[in-house]
Amino acid sequence: MNAHAPIPTLDAGCDIRHERGQRAVFCGLTGIVWLHRKIQDAFFLVVGSRTCAHLIQSAAGVMIFAEPRFATAILDERDLAGLVDANEELDRVVRRLIERRPDIRLLFLVGSCPSEVIKLDLSRAAQRLSRSFHPDVRVLSYSGSGIETTFTQGEDACLAALVPEMPRAPEIGAPALLVVGALADVVEDQFARLFADLGIAEVAFLPARRAGALPAVGPDTRILLAQPFLTDTARALEARGAERIAAPFPLGSEGTTGWLRAAAEAFGVPAERFERVTAPGRARAAVALDLYRDRLANRRVFFFPDSQLELPLARFLSREMGAELIEVGTPYLHRQHLAPELALLPAGTRVVEGQNLDAQMDRCRAAKPDLTVCGLGLANPLEAEGLATKWSIELLFTPIQGYDQAGDLAELFARPLKRRARLEV
């Protein structure tokens, strides 16, 4: 089960379908909720409607009161009347915000559906405001609108906006590693230790924990994606000369090993050293995963689309925990970035890109899965219909990557099944 398969480049064998219709997904604004925790001196100002503000407070839950570093500039009628006025209004709001929060070093103007539809030019506004607050505050913009981005794509848009800001790396002919995608600090530290033990000396992470500490990028940069939803960020980095290392994503023991191995190979780490450095982690993950395998083996799992993490998660559940996959929904499928994952999925796995909610719910009900991975809008209704569910948003807020979180990841899926078995009422 834990054998390391070679990583082919074809998505041979998966049954990939596309679906259009009603979608029950978050918009990219939601990414703010974890991004602002990661970049500690950045502030996210959504330019949108009351709906946008309401969404963020619903998603952020109780976090909103711990001096949050995000807010919404709510458009009203007067702003819709003429664009010039809206720009002046935006400047006024930003000035007030920066007076209130002088600790801010980086301000993101985040576009929403309303601001995109009225074509409020936030990139020009960002340039203008950057000039007026120079050198204290840098102002950037990206879109987290629902019409353009789905959930985690908000992080992609944010990181892609950072890429032009990254300093140029000097060309010294030796490769440097850039790990891309927001990871929990504890996970980032674990990976940093592993890369150091492997002898990869030059390692940086994007996003950095502080806005001023952006890593450099250049033709010597090798990028390793830690998250599967970074299409635009990877493209922007590649445009600056960086080369992407193809790898599965570091979920589960096998994924983590495959991910580290791809980096090790790109950096010429001897196989013997790779085995020695990763052995303790693999051994620990094996112990940890054993605790949950009985609970998950042969369980039939159905994924609704949410974050683009679905493919790597399905691969982990099927290969390392012995689960059976009924359908793996994903909001968007980047064939190239996900090729190593597709290759590891069991032949014939049904992968559905996009969504037609009612049809998909019909398929789910008909299949009667043992576990359904879905958003919070669907979870309780499906539970009430007798299906065990795992709400998917938790997978974004919990540290799940790497060897030492493999057990936690399995536990997230095992817990609802254990609970269902436990309850006698």
Binding site: L55, I74, N380, P381
Partner: protein, 514 residues
């Protein structure tokens, strides 16, 4: 443009969803971009509903904008009708769809569905959630209400109960209390709406003799329409608190022509005696700050001042539609009302008023926590804990009992306060000791967990932590850190490891799991 960190109300289409979700046999097709489905989870998570709200979203994306979003909308309406076969539909646009100017009403009408399809105009850039709920309910009632009043001829009086919605603060339990009171008065209930009503039920609204408006923010407009159309009288007194409930009973009885005495006989609420009992003496002139929707803030101010003997030092609402009433009530207490939807203004007002108790919404709960003040929740917006499993109305005589308990519990009980005064210098009761329900000032819970000494005396093998392992432990969230520490030390002792390294920490984690 308004800088907003927190909003008391959602956009108006959320109000429309609250009506649609409250009802049965009604479906809402909402022209909205991908992502607006977030609103579903307010109902499935916060209110813990066991079914999806009856809402179909068009969830258009950028690539659809160049093409025909109107066709997407029409398809959505047609498919929703086929799938759900509702008795009636409401159609409308969310804030973004309002900008792209498809006409939901006209597009839906063109489909010529064999059911009433009611278009909603909800101006998302001017109005908010409660207005959206009120407008939606009014439109539904205007479109569907029918029936004719039949002569009394000795039959029991008949009334409608209007106002309770989905996602309403204690609406479920208030309704139980009000229905009980109406039953005891010998009054029959014709229709309760929108909660639990079908479009067909709305068709029978005209049959009743009069209407009871429980939440004016939501049902007043509909009630006025019914008054005009069917000549139905309207009882608007909000029965929150003992006196207000008595007034409510008397008014309902007068309108229905029945005798209120049996319902008011005896001691229908425990609040008056509890409030008079000597333990409550210490409540006299406790400074209270009140903020919420207008209905609950007004009721709370009256109960606080006249039924619990508090001193109202602050009163406000985010419901601008009822600002006049709230200002008038504040004037009675010799204060100026706080009318705002900016929680920072509320925070400033609370700090300035220096209250000893805050009655408010979820936001005031957080503000009070930050300021170290006791607090109870009296109004939406609310979080999941304020949709309790137990019966906890705000209205009626039982509601008054709930109010007494809920508001007094965050305060120290009288005897406790007395003891604090007597034994002021004792270590348990010194000046810096906070009430037992508040976190200890200056000492954060996580530190307290950390400080718990390992039971070294139980086990003779002494384990020590390497510096980097100690640092790694700190990265574990505080609420599980104590357990991780104990597990790691047990793991190390069982294996006679004298030094805990980062590896030991993770070995132990793998061994024990979660």
């Amino acid at each position: 443009m308004q800088l907003t960190l927190w909003t008391y109300e959602g956009p108006p289409h959320i109000g429309a969803m609250r009506i649609a979700t409250a009802m049965k046999g009604l479906h809402y097709v909402l022209h909205a971009p991908q992502g607006d489905t977030y609103a579903d989870l307010l109902f499935t998570m916060i209110e813990r509903r066991d079914a999806r709200p009856p809402v179909t979203y068009t969830t258009f994306q950028a690539r659809d904008l160049g093409a025909d979003t109107a066709a997407i909308f029409q398809d959505a309406v047609a498919q929703a009708y086929e799938r759900f076969r509702p008795e009636a539909m409401i159609v409308g646009a969310s804030c973004t769809a309002e900008l792209i100017q498809d006409d939901p009403g006209g597009l839906a009408r063109a489909l010529e569905l064999p059911i009433p399809v009611i278009p909603l105009e909800l101006p998302a850039y001017q109005k908010k959630e409660n207005w959206g709920a009120s407008e939606t309910f009014y439109r539904l009632v205007r479109a569907l209400a029918g029936g004719t009043l039949t002569p009394r001829d000795g039959r029991r009086p008949l009334c409608n109960v209007l106002g309770p919605t989905a996602l309403g603060f204690r609406h479920r339990d208030d309704l139980v209390e009000i229905t009980k009171i109406l039953g005891a008065l010998g009054i029959d209930v014709n229709v309760i709406a929108p909660l639990g009503a079908t479009p067909a039920d709305l068709g029978r609204l005209g049959v009743a003799d009069f209407n009871v408006i429980l939440y004016p923010e939501i049902a007043r407009a509909a009630g006025l329409h019914l008054q005009k159309t069917f000549g139905q009288a309207m009882v608007e007194t909000v029965p929150i608190g003992v006196q207000a409930t008595i007034r409510f009973v008397e008014e309902v009885a007068a309108v229905a022509g029945v005798d209120p005495a049996p319902v008011l006989a005896g001691a229908p609420s425990r609040l008056p005696w509890y409030s008079r009992s000597v333990d409550s003496t210490y409540l006299t002139d406790k400074r209270v700050f009140i903020f919420g929707d207008a209905t609950h803030a007004l009721a709370a101010a009256r109960v606080a001042a006249t039924e619990l003997g508090f001193k109202v030092v602050g009163l406000g609402t985010y419901t601008r539609e009822f600002a006049r009433e709230v200002r008038a009530e504040a004037a009675l207490h010799g204060i100026e009302a706080t009318i705002t939807d900016d929680y920072l203004d509320v925070e400033a007002a609370i700090q300035a008023a220096q209250p000893e108790l805050v009655l408010g919404t979820q936001m005031e709960r957080h503000i009070a926590k930050r300021l170290g003040l006791p607090c109870a929740v009296i109004s939406a917006p609310i979080h999941v804990q304020d949709f309790p499993a137990r019966h906890s109305p705000q209205m009626g005589f039982e509601g008054a009992n709930v109010l007494f308990d809920t508001w007094v519990h965050p305060l120290m009980m009288g005897l406790e306060e007395h003891l604090l005064g007597m034994f002021r210098e004792d270590s348990e009761f010194h000046g810096a000791a906070a009430p037992s329900h508040l976190p200890r000032h200056g000492v954060e819970a996580p530190v307290a967990v950390e400080a718990a000494p390992a039971p070294a005396s139980v086990d003779p093998i002494l384990v020590t932590w390497a510096t980097d392992a100690e640092k790694e432990l700190k990265k574990i969230p505080f609420f599980v850190r104590g357990k991780a520490r104990a597990n790691t030390e047990r793991f190390a002792r069982e294996r006679a490891l004298p030094l805990i390294t980062v590896e030991t920490l993770y070995d132990a984690k793998a061994h024990f799991g979660r």
